[in-house]
């Protein structure tokens, strides 16, 4: 509020766009280098890329350069215009998603009253992109992949929403910023040393949410839409060069953004327990939190992405029907029970 007021509207918008790019691409790049290149390699007793830059740190730029140079191949029978749009839709959903994530007391793009609702709504936009990518490729593997993706993302949207409902009930608000504040200003049975990160009080919700995120991101063990060993990368089969790059960025950027949302909802977001500095509400927070907040957020996000990637590199994948059964027969009842429990406890305390 303090910073933004000094700029004219166009500059604010420009700053927001640039900030959004940074907030999406920087985590994506870090995730790719740190987890996809290095952590995965270490888990497999190898070093990963080592040639481009010190310890291969420039590898991602080399890869991007390679993809940009590649011929943009399009299947003859593909539905060309839709085929081109599909990766953009997937990426767009990531950018829409990051718009509501708060990074600091004032460092935020929008202060949506119904931020949770919005985030859950736009996160399913990517399903459209994936579905039309699979359909327009005119490839049987892509079609199977696209259909699987649609089925899976819709199935897991539900437990995700239900898991978040517990948080919303406990915080009493749908504003993500307010949820952060509620966690950090909160207390557990009168002890405020840790605030009240909802991972402690909403652990079932957190577990369900992370499983659903894993499925939303189509990471193993829920990666049947991509399934490189059976569907040969599913809906991405026919994409090459630049368009594949967009899918690739979107995959890891979305992982980052979902991890951000999870850290906002369950780990206290950008905040540290307010009692450490004697703050009570959002207006008392010092301005330096606008710089440190994003870093804290980034750290928490990385921790969650580590979890996501660790599971991805260790587990084999489910079968499509097992995945659906898991969503409908386990996750949804569990999260419904969680809501009930939360509501009861909310009334009791």
């Amino acid at each position: 509020m303090m910073l933004a007021v000094q700029f004219p509207y166009w500059a604010q918008s420009l700053l927001r766009v640039l900030g959004g790019l940074v907030a999406v691409l920087l985590p994506a790049g870090t995730i790719v280098y740190l987890f996809l290149f290095k952590m995965m390699s270490f888990m497999q007793s190898r070093l990963g890329p080592m040639e481009a830059g010190p310890y291969g740190s420039m590898q991602l730029f080399a890869e991007v350069g390679k993809w940009l140079q590649k011929e943009d191949i399009m299947p003859e029978k593909a539905d060309h215009s839709i085929f081109k749009i599909a990766p953009l839709i997937v990426l767009a959903s990531t950018f829409l998603l990051v718009a509501v994530v708060p990074f600091g007391p004032d460092a935020l793009f929008t202060n949506f009253e119904t931020g949770v609702f919005y985030a859950l709504a736009v996160s399913s936009v990517s399903v459209l992109g994936i579905l039309i990518a699979g359909w327009s490729s005119a490839n049987k593997y892509s079609l199977l992949g696209g259909l699987r993706a649609a089925g899976q993302l819709i199935a897991y949207e539900l437990p995700m929403v239900l898991a978040v409902v517990g948080v919303v009930i406990q915080a009493g608000t749908m504003n993500l910023q307010q949820i952060v504040v509620a966690q950090n200003a909160g207390e557990i049975f009168g002890w405020s040393g840790l605030g009240n990160p909802y991972i402690l009080t909403q652990f079932i919700g957190f577990a369900v949410f992370m499983i659903a995120v894993q499925a939303e991101l189509t990471q193993a063990p829920f990666d049947m839409p991509v399934a490189e060993s059976e569907l040969v990368s599913g809906y991405m089969t026919e994409y090459s060069g630049f368009r594949f790059l967009i899918f690739f960025i979107a995959e890891f950027a979305t992982a980052g953004v979902f991890a951000m949302i999870a850290s906002v909802l369950f780990l206290g977001g950008w905040g540290i327990p307010f009692s450490w500095f004697g703050w009570n509400n959002i207006d008392q927070i010092d301005n330096w939190m606008n710089i440190v907040g994003p870093l804290i957020m980034f750290t928490k996000m990385m921790g969650l992405v580590f979890l996501i990637m660790w599971i991805r590199f260790s587990y084999p994948r489910f079968r499509e029907d097992q995945l659906q059964r898991f969503a409908w027969k386990v996750l949804i009842p569990v999260s419904l029970g969680n809501i009930m429990l939360t509501a009861v406890l909310k009334v009791v305390f």
Binding site: M39, S41, F42, M43, Q44, S45, R46, L47, M50, W310, I311, F313, S314, Y315
Partner: protein
């Protein structure tokens, strides 16, 4: 067994990958950064065939026993000075051409084995790939150069009966 609680397989799996990661970070990886460091192949490795031209009598045994027909030999007879003074001049076979086409060779080692005069040897050298397939035809000069890389035969394990051939 017994009282030990059952750890779910999912958790055990995570443990395996995590331990491997830690081992890689602390003890180093199992891979070798190839162009910078190289692993030495074992002494017996069949990398490339070296030719000691002086020993070759162009007897054609190797060319005839090659399953892939990838050895090409041409030679002619020559009169050499007699070994003892006053003797008759000897007839020797002089080697004109000895080519091995490594594009065809399947590294079975039959030629090295059948050679009765110890003219062919295995060298563990392996870095001789070429951009053009025709360049994989090594002539006798090039095959002679490989002689420098031929190692001594390794000692044999306990209980071996005879000393190793070559």
């Amino acid at each position: 067994m017994g009282l030990k609680p059952k750890v779910p397989g999912l958790v055990k799996g995570l443990g395996v990958t995590f331990n491997t990661m830690m081992a890689t970070i602390t003890k180093g990886s199992n891979t070798v950064q190839y162009p910078h460091e190289k692993e030495a192949p074992p002494l017996r490795a069949r990398g490339v065939i070296a030719l000691r031209e002086d020993n070759c009598t162009s007897c054609m045994l190797c060319a005839r026993s090659c399953p892939d027909w990838c050895i090409y030999i041409e030679g002619h007879k020559e009169l050499a000075p007699p070994r003892r003074a006053g003797g008759a001049p000897r007839k020797v076979n002089k080697l004109d051409r000895f080519d091995i086409d490594y594009a065809l060779c399947m590294y079975c080692g039959i030629c090295v084995e059948v050679c009765p005069f110890d003219a062919l040897f295995w060298s563990p050298e392996y870095e001789y790939s070429e951009p053009k397939i025709a360049d994989l035809l090594h002539d006798k000069t090039k095959l002679g150069e490989w002689m420098e890389t031929v190692p001594e035969a390794p000692e044999l394990e306990v209980g071996a009966d005879k000393k190793g051939k070559k």
